[in-house]
Structure formats: structure tokens, C-alpha cells
């Protein structure tokens, strides 16, 4: 932790000419001088040690170099030399926990496995409490450590409260699982496009593929995907139910943006190997990995396309039977890319895809409800917005989105748009009218607010909120 190195690409190095594996090539494309090994491992669902190994190889090939980032991301030196009455070992523990705790999910924070029983969770929490509750050092000079301890203690307590009781834990586990599933499916869908494109490109640039064929096959066969290790890593990077979750989400989005931005900025790098989709998450990921491995092999021995299309169709059939609709949709897309003449493939793809959308919709809806009831308003507004998009006839979703945006202190214009959409679908909803009125008041648009309140009054003149809002506008 003390001396964290970050990989950076060596400028003007020609990677295309190198003898590297698909994994190494992809890792290389992820390297931007900001992400550390753990970030990259998170994105790729690889063990950090594997990522480290690959990067070491890239370093030896002189296309990547190690840099030590500026102090901003590492704990400031002063924290270590502060004059306090706790020993150095504890100081280090506090600093580490403080800087790491916002990156972990509830299980990671408590230092237990995701399937730990209640007793284990309880014991772990109580042990952490005794270390991080400031009362344990009452009367001692703690300096800035006191506040850090309080922060760590709060995070650990939040985690314990979310998973320490069976009922709450069930909800959290479901949420965690869904978060993983949904982002898995979405990423597959998003990347499926690029991947199909890559396949199509590959077909036309057989020569490129052929040149790279041999090493790729070899590597693909020897890649140790270690699925038992990877998922827990992926899981521990999400911690919903806490404010840290938002931060982590933002970070993730940032990472994704960066990655997207990179491939957009440098189209010349979109060689087949680079465009290989990244399996980032646990759920459905075995299938995805198998799929990926196969396609790597296939890319390598690319000659025609038709029989490969059949294999993808077979893959799609298997995936659908296993309930992994995202994988099925992707496989079909691949098949279509390889053999665009078969219209029944298009139909099949449409069918699977619409199923998938319905499934995602349900998940988003359930997530939105969980988030709203746990005050994760920012997350809820996103989830409701997704539901609203996928189910344009449902008045509840846009209202939920508007409400969540309000509660999260977000953009009132967006909130208004959602509320209006909900109202279009269900003009007689008192709740929506009042919500809209509150949004207008929030935006200082008193005249519009009055109008909405009067509309609401028509629906239920005696409603307490109608009276309150009227009073408020009057004064």
C-alpha cells in the first residue's frame, strides 16, 4: 500500500508488432496512467496478481512503464508523524482502513466471506468495533486519527447493520447479486455491438487475423481464468447501501468513460484482438468467458464465417436454455455479423433481445424500489429512469424518477420532465400533481406551481399537502 505503482503506456510504442496475448493486449489498452492494478483487475475480473504479471511482461517489452503517482491518492506523509498516543501499528491500520474502506462492499469491509454465517459476521464486527471505536482510546491524544476512526467505525457499522440481520441481509444480497447481474447484462449488450463489429472487421481483414493467429491460440488455451477468485474481486468493488457505493459507481462510470473514450479517440487501434469484449462480472460470466475463449480461438483460425455462425447459434441456444439471455443475445449478434443473410437469425435475436429487456426492466424496477427504500436516491433516480425508458407506458416509473431526483437534490428540470411524462400517462394522479407542484416551487416557478396545486385541489381539496403548499406559496 505504501508505495503504489501505476502502469503507464510508453508513447509511440508499436504494440501491434509485438508477440503478446489477447489478455495482455487488452490490459495494455486499459492502461491510462491513472488506473492502478486493482482497478484494472476490477474491470477485467482478473486476479490482481495476474494483471500484475501481464503488466510486468508488457514492461519487459518496453511498451509500458511503472510510475509512482503523486501524493494525492496516497495518504499524506504527515499522518504518519502526527504526535498521538497510539502505537504505529494501529496508526497504520487506521490509515489503511480509512483509505480502503470506501472501496469495499459490506462483506469486504467486515473482512468476511459472502457466505459467512451470522456468528462470524457478529464476531468480526465486534472485533472491528473494539479497534475503531474512539472510546477504546478515551482520554488519549488521537489527533486526526479520531475522525478517521469514526469514519471507519461508521462504515463498518453500516455494513454490519445491512448484513447482520437475516432479513436485511437477504435484501442486500439480492441487491448485490442484481447489481452484478444487471451490469453484466448491460455490458454484454453494449460491448456486443462492438464485438460484432470487430468480427465483421475481422472477416474482411483476414490477413491481420492470420498474422496474429498463432500466438492468440496459444495464449487463449493457457489463460487461467480462475473463476473462483475473480468473482469475489468483482463483488467486492461494489458496496451498495452506503454512500461509498455512489462514489464507487461514479468511479466505475469514470472508468468506463475513459475506456470508451480511448477506443473512440484511437480508432486505429481497433484491431480484432483489442475489440474482444471484457467479461467484467460474475453473473453469467462463465458462459461469457467460455464464449470469449471460443471466439478467440475462432478469430485465430478465421477462414470463412458460416460454420462459425452455426456455433454461435448453438452457443445462443445453450445460453438461452441456461437463462443467460444476455449471452444468448450476444451470441446471436455474432452469428448475424458472420452470416447476415439469415433472416431467421434476426428474428431470433429480436425475440431474445426483447425478453432480455423485459428481464432487465424487472430488475431495474426492483432495484429502484430497494434503492428508494434505503435512501439511495441518486441510484434510484437512475434505476427509475431506466425503467421509464424501457416501459414507456408505465406512469409509476417516471414519477419515481422525478421523486428520486428531488430527494437526491438533482436537476429539477429533469425531475419536471419526468413528472410531466408521468402526468401524461396518468393525468388524475394527485401524487404526481403534488410532486410537480413541489418541483415548481423548488425551481421558484410559483405560477406553474399554483396551477398544479389548483389541479390537485380539484382531485382532493381537503388534502393536507394541498393546504400546506398553498400556505407556503401564499407566504
Amino acid at each position: 500500500m505504501a508505495e503504489e505503482k501505476i502502469p503507464r503506456q510508453v508513447e509511440d510504442a508499436d504494440v501491434g508488432a509485438l508477440d503478446i496475448s489477447g489478455q495482455e493486449a487488452f490490459i495494455h489498452s486499459c492502461i491510462d496512467g491513472v488506473l492502478n492494478i486493482e482497478d484494472i483487475a476490477d474491470l477485467m475480473v482478473l486476479a490482481p496478481s495476474d494483471v500484475f504479471e501481464s503488466i510486468e511482461r508488457l514492461v519487459s517489452l518496453k511498451v509500458v512503464e511503472w510510475v509512482v503517482p503523486k501524493a494525492s491518492s496516497a495518504p499524506p506523509e504527515t499522518e504518519l508523524v502526527e504526535d498521538v498516543e497510539i502505537d504505529g501499528e494501529l496508526q497504520e491500520r487506521i490509515i489503511e482502513a480509512f483509505h480502503r474502506s470506501d472501496k469495499l462492499n459490506h462483506y469486504g469491509l467486515l473482512g468476511v466471506a459472502m457466505d459467512a454465517d451470522r456468528g462470524e459476521i457478529r464476531t468480526a464486527y465486534f472485533a472491528l468495533s473494539k479497534t475503531f471505536h474512539p472510546d477504546a482510546y478515551y482520554g488519549k491524544r488521537l489527533g486526526s486519527f479520531k475522525q478517521q476512526m469514526e469514519v471507519v467505525f461508521r462504515r463498518v457499522t453500516d455494513a454490519y447493520e445491512a448484513v447482520g440481520r437475516p432479513k436485511k441481509r437477504e435484501a442486500y444480497d439480492r441487491y448485490l447479486k442484481q447489481s452484478l447481474a444487471v451490469s453484466a447484462a448491460e455490458k454484454q449488450l453494449d460491448r456486443g455491438e462492438a464485438r460484432a463489429q470487430a468480427m465483421a472487421d475481422a472477416l474482411t481483414k483476414t490477413s491481420v487475423a492470420e498474422r496474429q493467429a498463432q500466438p492468440v491460440v496459444g495464449t487463449a488455451a493457457s489463460i487461467d481464468w480462475s473463476p473462483s477468485k475473480a468473482p469475489s474481486k468483482a463483488a467486492s468493488s461494489i458496496a451498495p447501501g452506503t454512500p461509498e457505493y455512489d462514489r464507487m459507481q461514479r468511479k466505475r462510470e469514470l472508468l468506463e468513460r475513459r475506456l470508451r473514450g480511448r477506443s473512440q479517440q484511437s480508432p486505429r487501434r481497433s484491431q480484432p484482438i483489442r475489440s474482444i469484449p471484457v467479461p467484467t462480472v460474475k453473473v453469467g460470466h462463465k458462459t461469457a468467458l467460455r464464449d470469449l475463449t471460443r471466439s478467440l480461438k475462432q478469430t485465430a483460425v478465421l477462414t470463412g464465417g458460416i460454420d462459425r455462425a452455426d456455433r454461435h447459434i448453438e452457443n445462443a441456444r445453450v445460453a438461452e436454455a441456461e437463462g443467460d439471455l444476455a449471452a444468448a443475445a450476444n451470441a446471436l449478434r455474432m452469428a448475424i455479423a458472420l452470416d447476415s443473410d439469415r433472416t431467421e437469425l434476426q428474428e431470433q435475436y429480436q425475440r431474445v433481445n426483447s425478453h432480455l429487456r423485459v428481464e432487465l426492466l424487472d430488475i431495474h424496477r426492483e432495484q429502484a424500489r430497494y434503492e428508494a427504500s434505503n435512501n439511495l436516491w441518486a441510484a434510484a433516480s437512475i434505476s427509475w429512469a431506466k425503467v421509464a425508458e424501457a416501459a414507456p407506458d408505465d406512469p409509476v416509473a417516471p414519477r419515481g424518477a422525478a421523486k428520486a431526483i428531488m430527494a437526491a437534490g438533482g436537476d429539477l428540470r429533469k425531475a419536471r420532465d419526468f413528472a410531466l411524462r408521468s402526468l401524461e400517462l396518468a393525468p388524475d394522479s394527485l401524487e404526481t400533481r403534488l410532486l410537480l407542484a413541489r418541483i415548481y416551487i423548488g425551481a421558484g416557478m410559483d405560477a406553474s406551481a399554483s396551477k398544479e396545486i389548483e389541479e390537485a385541489a380539484k382531485l382532493d381539496p381537503g388534502h393536507e399537502m394541498v393546504k400546506n403548499l398553498r400556505k407556503q406559496l401564499g407566504g
Binding site: 457478529r122 465486534f126 468495533s129 473494539k130 478515551y138 469514526e150 416551487i441 421558484g444 416557478m445 407556503q472
Partner: protein, 610 residues
């Protein structure tokens, strides 16, 4: 390591404890009692009396004897609770200069923390006498359901008494500490605390590693033994009115006697199934006849009179259990605390509700004080046997007022402290350059129904459209239970904050002033101590003589010598009484010898005839 004592500052009784060599012990007062009445009086001569001595003279000095000051602490003058107290209390409650309430004894007005300080000071002295050293640090317990203002006022009381209140802890939590201390157990328990004035219920997890975690807590600060007494008083008063057409509540002294009798009857009914309330000469009729009150009270009647009160405690239990997300069968023990839990019906309902017999291992009157001393020692003592941590919760929701007069929650009730929570808020009007943050505590959706803890203004916001400027509000409760609130302009980073303190209705200057006052008082009080012994001795002898009086009279009444002796004895007792009342300790000291003689003589007469 500085010694820390624990004080259970109860509505009716207080108790002080200390940890000695790793064992918590309750310290008895000079009278040998482990609990001291939380009563304060000012005599005609302007003397302050605290504890048993104040309780003993309550009947004859009802207007100047204050009890249950805890029910008023940290409360505003215009609250229904205070209005109710004015109706039922024999002493005078007046409005203070900060909308608080104060108490008038003789011609001086005291703030409530000042009155509580007198009790704390008494407890401090009890501890100092026992330990033979000066004590400055204390952990004080309060009902779990006390709000921040009430806690702050209790801290103020400590400051006035010259004590550094290093921690305020909740009474049921304290009881759980005493229950679990040194037991090496892993258990989830409920503490059912029905005291003289308040009811609390807390659910805790106790870990053998020495961690006590409160899961949830709830209660009612106006539900306790006194309400049970009140039901008995009403029953007696109504019966008397029915019989004689006179409302006894109009007479302060009668009311005080009724109060004592009702409490006594209630306590007796925990052991027997019926008891007689006998108050001779309770009042004079319009024709100047002396009237007596005599009525049989059965346990069944008492249970009937108080059924709804017990129901309420059970309802609150149910709520708390839900809060903690627990089923009844997940509780592994029930701890009963507070004198009222001696009532068989209470025990029965508790067992019925929790479907298990409550634990019998703790002393309901002492356990809270013991727990406070344990927490005190755990904080300052590094030794392994005191290696424990209490994870307490905030009993009320904290938040701010938002547009529409609504209360926006930031830290929900039953959140483990230390904690902090942030939420973004936005401006509501165009070109709004300032926001006012009203810090509130309570459970109502309407801001006005909650307790205002403080307010501040964040200015200098950028002029912009409504909703564009974001302000992040952060609430923080540290391990010491201190609440602080920051508001930050997200764009500019400009910050404004307050630490929520000194809202007990006293200004800092006033507290300073009172501290001087009290420390003066502490000095005079100390000088009194030698004389206190004389007083107690005299009181004991007088009581003994009076007890033997009827018997002696019956034996010796026949002889001239006997009549003479009786008259003489009467003279000695009357004389001693007068000296006592006037606080003439020197005279009393001289009188002690004749008192002793009379006592010996009486004992001799009774002994011989037997």
C-alpha cells in the same frame, strides 16, 4: 488514573457507584441507604436540605420541597408536560427568562439544572466520604428517550455541581452493562426499565469480547411509578369526595400525605394482596370536624386502575422489537430495572409478552448506577478487565427543516454513534444568497412538532436560478454524543457550522454564575457535616422515644411518678424538636444528653414490664 464515579440521577431516587479493584459497588449514604431521594428543600430558615432529610420534612414543607425535578429538566415552559406538572406539583413552577421553567422555593427562583445539581452534589459527597478523595469526573445516566436538550441540561447540572460529566449514558444501557459485565457472555437481551418517572426499553447485543451494542431503544419520559401513584390518589380522592363531598386535592398538605400513602400502598401490594390506606385527620369538615380517610385497597383494584399504563409499556416493547428487526424468540434474556418492575402484574405482562421469565440476577434500584460506574471505569482504565466498549445509539431522529415546513431526516433514530450523514439541498428561490438551517430532533414529519436544537445561516451563496445552488448539510455525532452540523456551499466550498450545545435554557454566563454559587454552597455544606451527625442522632432518639411513648404511657400512667416522668419526657422531646427546626445545632448537642436519658428510661420501663 483519575477515579470516575457513576451516578444514576433518578426521578425519585438517586444512586452512586464506583468500580473498586475491578468490581462495581454501590456506595451507601451516611444514613446507610444505597439510594438517596432526589429531593431538595429549603427550610424556613433558608437552609438547603437534600435527600432523606428533605423527604422527611416534605409533609410539613410541601411548597418548598422539590421532587421529580427530572421531569422538568430541559423542558420549555409552554409544553403540555410542564403545564401538567404545574397542576399536580405542590411546589411552585415559574417561567424562566429563556422560555424554560424554574422552581421557586421560599423567595428564591432556581433553574432546574440547579436543583438537579444539588442532588448530584449530594451524591458526589457520598462518594467522596466513602473513597476519602476528591471526585471530579462522573458518568451520569438519563432515560434513553431524553432528547438533546434534556441531556445538555443534565450536563449543565453536573457542571454546576462542580463535576465534569465525561459521558451521559442511557439508563437501560447502563443496566445492561452491569448485567453483562464480567460475565463473558454472547447474548441478545432486552432491558425493561420502569422507574419512578420514566419508562425505557432497550435491546442490546452483548459480546463476550466486551462489546455492548444497543440495537434499538424507545420509551416514554412521562410514564412511571408516579403515574401509578396518581391513579391510586385519584381513586382515594374520588372515594373521599363521594363520602364527604370534599376535594382533598385543594389542600396541599393533604395531597402530600395522599401521595406518600398511595406510594406506600402500591409498594405493599407487591408483597400482599390487600392493604389499608389509613390517613387520620386528613382534613377538617365545614363544621370543623376532623375527617379521616380509611380505605381498603386490593391488588386487583390496583391492577385495574393501572391496566392501561402497563398496556402502554407493552406496546412500546413491541415497537422497539420491530425497530431492532428482531423476533421475540431471538431475545435470550429480559432484564427488569426500576422499582415499578416489582409489581407482580408488570412482571406477569412482561413474561407474557416476551414469552420468557425475566432475569432475577440484578437489583432493580442499583443496577443503573453500577452500570454508570462501569462505563466510567471502562473509559479511563486501560487494564484488561475493564477492556470493553459500549456502542450506543441516538434515540431520536436528527434533521433539518425543509420547504413546506417539513422535517427532513439526516440521522435516523437508533443509529449507532459515532456517526455522520450528509445530504445535498438546494436553494428554492431565484437569487437566493442565504440559507437558514434549522436543526431539529424528533419523529414528526412536521418540523414544528419536533424539538429545535439550534439554527444558523449560511450566507454568500452565488446568485442563480432557484435550485441551482447546492448546499451540502452534514450532521455528525461524535463518540461523546456531541452533535455538530455543517452546511457547505458545494461550489465555493464556503462552510458554516454549529455545535449543538447550551440549549438547556441557561446561558453560559448563568451557568458560570451558578457554579460560583454552588461552590460557595459546597463549602458551607461541608462545614455542616459535623453537625449533621448531631442532627441525625437527635432525630433517631426522638423517633425511638415517640415509638415507645404509647406503651410507656400505658404502663406508668397510674402513678404520680409516672405522670411526672412522662411530662418531663414530653418537655425534652418538644425542646429538641424546636432546636431541630431552628437548626440550633449547638443547643441540640447539649440536649442530646437529656434525650439519651429519656430514651434509656423508656427502654427500661418497657423492658421491665415485658
Amino acid at each position: 488514573m483519575e477515579r470516575v464515579i457513576g451516578i444514576d440521577l433518578g426521578t425519585f431516587n438517586s444512586c452512586v457507584a464506583v468500580v473498586e479493584n475491578g468490581t462495581p459497588v454501590v456506595i451507601a449514604n451516611r444514613g446507610g441507604y444505597k439510594v438517596t431521594p432526589s429531593m431538595v428543600a429549603v427550610t424556613e430558615g433558608g437552609k438547603r436540605l437534600v435527600g432523606h432529610i428533605a423527604k422527611r420534612q416534605a409533609v410539613t414543607n410541601a411548597e418548598n420541597t422539590v421532587f421529580a425535578a427530572k421531569r422538568l429538566i430541559g423542558r420549555k415552559w409552554d409544553t403540555p408536560q410542564v403545564k401538567n406538572a404545574i397542576q399536580t406539583c405542590p411546589f411552585h413552577i415559574v417561567e424562566g427568562p429563556h422560555g424554560d421553567c424554574r422552581i421557586k422555593m421560599r423567595d428564591k427562583v432556581y433553574s432546574i439544572p440547579e436543583v438537579s445539581a444539588m442532588v448530584l452534589q449530594e451524591m458526589k459527597m457520598v462518594a467522596e466520604d466513602y473513597l476519602g478523595e476528591e471526585i471530579n469526573k462522573v458518568v451520569v445516566t438519563v432515560p434513553a428517550y431524553f432528547n438533546d436538550n434534556q441531556r445538555q441540561a443534565t450536563k449543565d447540572a453536573g457542571a454546576i455541581a462542580g463535576l465534569d460529566v465525561i459521558r451521559i449514558i442511557n439508563e437501560p444501557t447502563s443496566a445492561a452493562l452491569a448485567y453483562g459485565f464480567g460475565k463473558n457472555i454472547d447474548r441478545t437481551v432486552a432491558v425493561f426499565d420502569l422507574g419512578g418517572g420514566t419508562f425505557d426499553i432497550s435491546i442490546l447485543e452483548i459480546a463476550s469480547s466486551g462489546v455492548f451494542k444497543v440495537l434499538s431503544t424507545a420509551g416514554d419520559t412521562f410514564l412511571g411509578g408516579e403515574d401509578f401513584d396518581q391513579r391510586v390518589i385519584e381513586w382515594l380522592v374520588e372515594g373521599f369526595q363521594h363520602e364527604h363531598g370534599i376535594d382533598l386535592r385543594q389542600d396541599r398538605m393533604a395531597l402530600q400525605r395522599l401521595k406518600d400513602a398511595a406510594e406506600k400502598a402500591k409498594c405493599e401490594l407487591s408483597a400482599v394482596t390487600e392493604t389499608e390506606v389509613n390517613l387520620p385527620f386528613i382534613i377538617s369538615s365545614t363544621r370543623n370536624e376532623a375527617l379521616h380517610l380509611q380505605r381498603l385497597l386490593t391488588r386487583a383494584t390496583l391492577e385495574e386502575l393501572t391496566a392501561d399504563l402497563i398496556d402502554r409499556t407493552v406496546q412500546i416493547c413491541e415497537l422497539t422489537l420491530g425497530e431492532a428487526g428482531l423476533d421475540k424468540d431471538e431475545l435470550e434474556d429480559i432484564i427488569l430495572v426500576g422499582g415499578m418492575t416489582r409489581m407482580p402484574k408488570v412482571q406477569e405482562r412482561v413474561s407474557q409478552f416476551f414469552q420468557r421469565d425475566p432475569c432475577k440476577g440484578v437489583h432493580p434500584d442499583e443496577v443503573v448506577g453500577l452500570g454508570a460506574s462501569i462505563q466510567g471505569a471502562a473509559l479511563v482504565d486501560d487494564s484488561p478487565e475493564m477492556d470493553m466498549v459500549l456502542l450506543d445509539v441516538t434515540p431520536h431522529t436528527l434533521g433539518i427543516m425543509v420547504i413546506g415546513g417539513y422535517f427532513e431526516e439526516l440521522i435516523p433514530q437508533n443509529t449507532t454513534v459515532p456517526t455522520s450523514r450528509s445530504k445535498p439541498f438546494t436553494t428554492v428561490r431565484e437569487n437566493q444568497t442565504a440559507v437558514k438551517i434549522l436543526v431539529l430532533q424528533g419523529e414528526s414529519r412536521r418540523a414544528e412538532d419536533n424539538e429545535l436544537l439550534g439554527e444558523f445561516i449560511l450566507t454568500g451563496l452565488r446568485r442563480a436560478d432557484a435550485g441551482e445552488v447546492e448546499v451540502e448539510v452534514t450532521f455528525e455525532i461524535n463518540a461523546d454524543g456531541i452533535v455538530s452540523v455543517h452546511a457547505k456551499d458545494i461550489e465555493t466550498g464556503k462552510e458554516q457550522s454549529i455545535t449543538v450545545t447550551a440549549t438547556s435554557g441557561l446561558t453560559d454566563d448563568e451557568i458560570d454564575e451558578m457554579m460560583v454559587d454552588a461552590s460557595d454552597f459546597a463549602v458551607t455544606r461541608r462545614e455542616d457535616e459535623a453537625t449533621e451527625q448531631v442532627r441525625q442522632e437527635a432525630e433517631t432518639i426522638i423517633a425511638e422515644i415517640e415509638r415507645l411513648f404509647p406503651e410507656v404511657e400505658a404502663i406508668v400512667a397510674g402513678s404520680d411518678f409516672g405522670r411526672d416522668a412522662i411530662d418531663k419526657a414530653k418537655g425534652v422531646v418538644d425542646n429538641a424538636r424546636t432546636l431541630l427546626e431552628h437548626g440550633d445545632i449547638a443547643g441540640l448537642k447539649d440536649e442530646l444528653e437529656s434525650l439519651g436519658r429519656t430514651q434509656r428510661m423508656f427502654k427500661g420501663v418497657v423492658g421491665k414490664s415485658a
